[in-house]
């Protein structure tokens, strides 16, 4: 049996039932023995030679003993039922601290890792366990912060040598082979991007980024992002189709939405093949952004979290109302971002359309 609460309830009820059964058996046996030995003697004063001996027949003894047995069974049934209910209540009360600790642990994220688990009415047995758990969390928090700070410091320290190398390559552009200069610049650029992304992740995980939620048109925001990617897809002889809902209003930080949409589209271009579909739609209480693409043959779709998706995960920590889902199957990869949908605000004037010509 998997549930400790059910097990405790059954043990309690079973213990109670066994006690009642044993007690009933004892009374039944004793009563039967007593009745079998019970005799009555009657003396008649007028007739001194006369003495009347009497006792219960076996059938009478059995009937009295059975009546007692049935009566005991009749009363013990509701008592056992009460014991089940009582046992359940007691088990629930006893396990409440565990449920509370479980809830608090589930709510843990990098931002609140160091906050201790609180159990104000914890029993003595739990207090020691709680202390060990909170000490462990504090140590984890310290390690996590140290690792984060270290990653941020390393990323930050890398910026200066990267800037110097970039200047040197630019200055030496006409003295070294152009192909080499191109390649060096490309690699430096890539490294700078990795450093930037790492700094962004570190900042988000340190809780130093703020979400500025507002109501915005998801269709327009996505169309703005998609513009460049349509050109990039065309360059690879692929087609990026955007199917936006006419207007789909959402509440979130539009900067985070743009960053996540950029990351999803970049991943779809880099790691996918064939045409890409971007869809914006309303699903009940959610405004949904969907990015679908074919998976490159032989690609590892369950690979470890890449830098781009680490950025997505870090930003999602800041946006608890946003949900991110990924699905693979039948050669396709589908990423879905769900944002809280809202009705269009009456006073809102839409911004300029994406792709507007100057």
């Amino acid at each position: 049996m998997k549930s400790l609460r059910t097990r405790l309830t059954l043990w309690f009820a079973l213990g109670f039932a066994v006690t009642i059964a044993a007690f009933t058996f004892l009374i039944h046996t004793t009563l039967k023995a007593e009745l079998e030995q019970k005799t009555c003697n009657k003396i008649y004063p007028d007739l001194p030679d006369w003495k009347l001996h009497g006792s219960l027949t076996e059938a009478e003894v059995a009937e009295i003993a059975n009546r007692m047995l049935w009566s005991a069974l009749l009363w013990s049934a509701p008592l056992v039922l009460a014991a089940v209910v009582g046992g359940y209540w007691l088990a629930r009360q006893s396990l409440r601290p565990i449920a509370s600790v479980n809830r608090q642990l589930q709510a843990k994220n990098p931002a609140n890792l160091g906050e201790p688990i609180a159990l104000p009415e914890a029993d003595y047995e739990f207090r020691d366990l709680l202390k060990q758990l909170n000490d462990l969390l504090a140590r984890l928090d310290a390690s996590f912060a140290e690792m984060n700070n270290y990653a941020a410091k390393v990323a930050h320290e890398l910026r200066t040598p990267l800037a110097i190398m970039r200047l040197k390559v630019e200055q030496a552009g006409n003295r070294i082979a152009p192909e080499l200069a191109d390649e060096l610049e490309g690699e430096l650029h890539r490294l700078t991007h990795v450093v930037d992304q790492s700094l962004l992740i570190a900042r988000a995980e340190q809780g130093r980024l703020t979400a500025m939620r507002s109501v915005f048109n998801l269709s327009a925001a996505v169309a703005e992002v998609v513009e460049d990617f349509q050109l990039l897809a065309a360059e690879q002889d692929r087609r990026l189709t955007l199917n936006p809902a006419a207007e789909c209003w959402a509440s979130a930080d539009p900067r985070h939405l743009r960053q996540i949409a950029h990351t999803l589209l970049t991943n779809a271009l880099k790691h996918g093949s064939g045409d890409l579909t971007v869809r914006v739609k309303r699903e009940r209480r959610h405004a949904v952004l969907l990015v679908a693409n074919r998976v490159k043959p032989g690609a590892d779709t369950e690979s470890t979290l890449g830098l781009g998706l680490r950025v997505v995960a870090a930003l999602l920590h800041l946006e608890p109302d946003m949900k991110f889902q990924r699905r693979h199957g039948q050669g396709y990869h589908v990423a879905r971002l769900l944002l809280p949908a809202v009705e269009q605000p009456k006073s809102f004037h839409a911004g300029p359309a994406a792709g507007q010509r100057t």
Binding site: E170, H189, M212, L231, H262, P352, T358
Partner: protein, 225 residues
């Protein structure tokens, strides 16, 4: 041109951002003073639009901090405070202009063009290389008197090439000044846009003006045959 907008009021930030993007600027938004400092230290912005009253650090503290770090990008303060003393304090801290709320986007854009113009050797809103002209106010490009249709991004890229002309600019510099922070610079987006621009500007029969400088990047200049 890439702009940092620091504004803690979401609606104002989105409207100003939309207005700037419509003009072809790449825009990053910060919601408090700390984030503004972080972004300004990490990215090479052409101009900063800072709200004075912001959480964490106010705009004046942000400008003082950036100037101490030798980040000299032009700064325009956006604020609801129209007291003369406030304006003096802001300008003395190192800002280049001061705009009081409420303001119109066209006024903000005009002031932005003005502070950007001061950074350029040619202090005109009409840039010219050979027979190619770029009108920064009308947002028009003309080659040999003929109007060229450009998207916002193409216009921004051409403007950046104009600013550097005749010197070449690297792909990294182009990405940093024409795209915002979200863009994944690992893509070959610069090459794609340069190809599009060439198709529109260096049409067959015309002298090529956009040149690939191997090992450096791209340059907009007239090369004598």
């Amino acid at each position: 041109m890439r702009i940092l907008l620091a504004e803690d009021e979401p609606k104002v930030a989105e409207h100003v951002r939309a207005g700037l993007i419509a003009e072809g600027y790449a825009v990053d938004v910060a919601v408090d003073g700390d984030e503004a400092i972080w972004l300004a230290e990490e990215n090479p912005y052409d101009a900063l639009l800072l709200d004075v009253m912001m959480p964490c650090k106010d705009g004046i503290t942000v400008v003082r901090h950036l100037r101490r770090k030798q980040i000299m990008s032009p700064v325009i303060f956006i604020t609801a405070r129209d007291d003369v003393q406030d304006k003096v304090r802001g300008l003395d801290a190192g800002a280049d202009d001061y705009l009081t709320k409420p303001f119109s986007i066209s006024e903000l854009l005009a002031r932005l063009r003005a502070v950007l113009r001061r950074q350029r050797p040619q202090s005109s809103n009409l840039l010219r290389v050979a027979d190619l002209e770029l009108d920064l106010i009308a947002h028009e490009a003309r080659r040999a008197g003929e109007r060229i249709e450009l998207t916002r991004r193409e216009f921004a890229l051409l403007e950046f090439l104009f600013q550097a002309s005749p010197k070449p600019v690297s792909k990294t510099a182009i990405v940093e000044h024409v795209w915002d922070q979200h863009f994944d610079s690992e893509t070959n987006v610069v090459n794609v846009y340069i190809k599009l621009l060439r198709r529109k500007i260096d049409r067959p029969g015309l002298q090529p003006l956009i040149h690939t400088v191997r090992g450096v990047g791209f340059a907009l200049r007239e090369e004598k045959p």
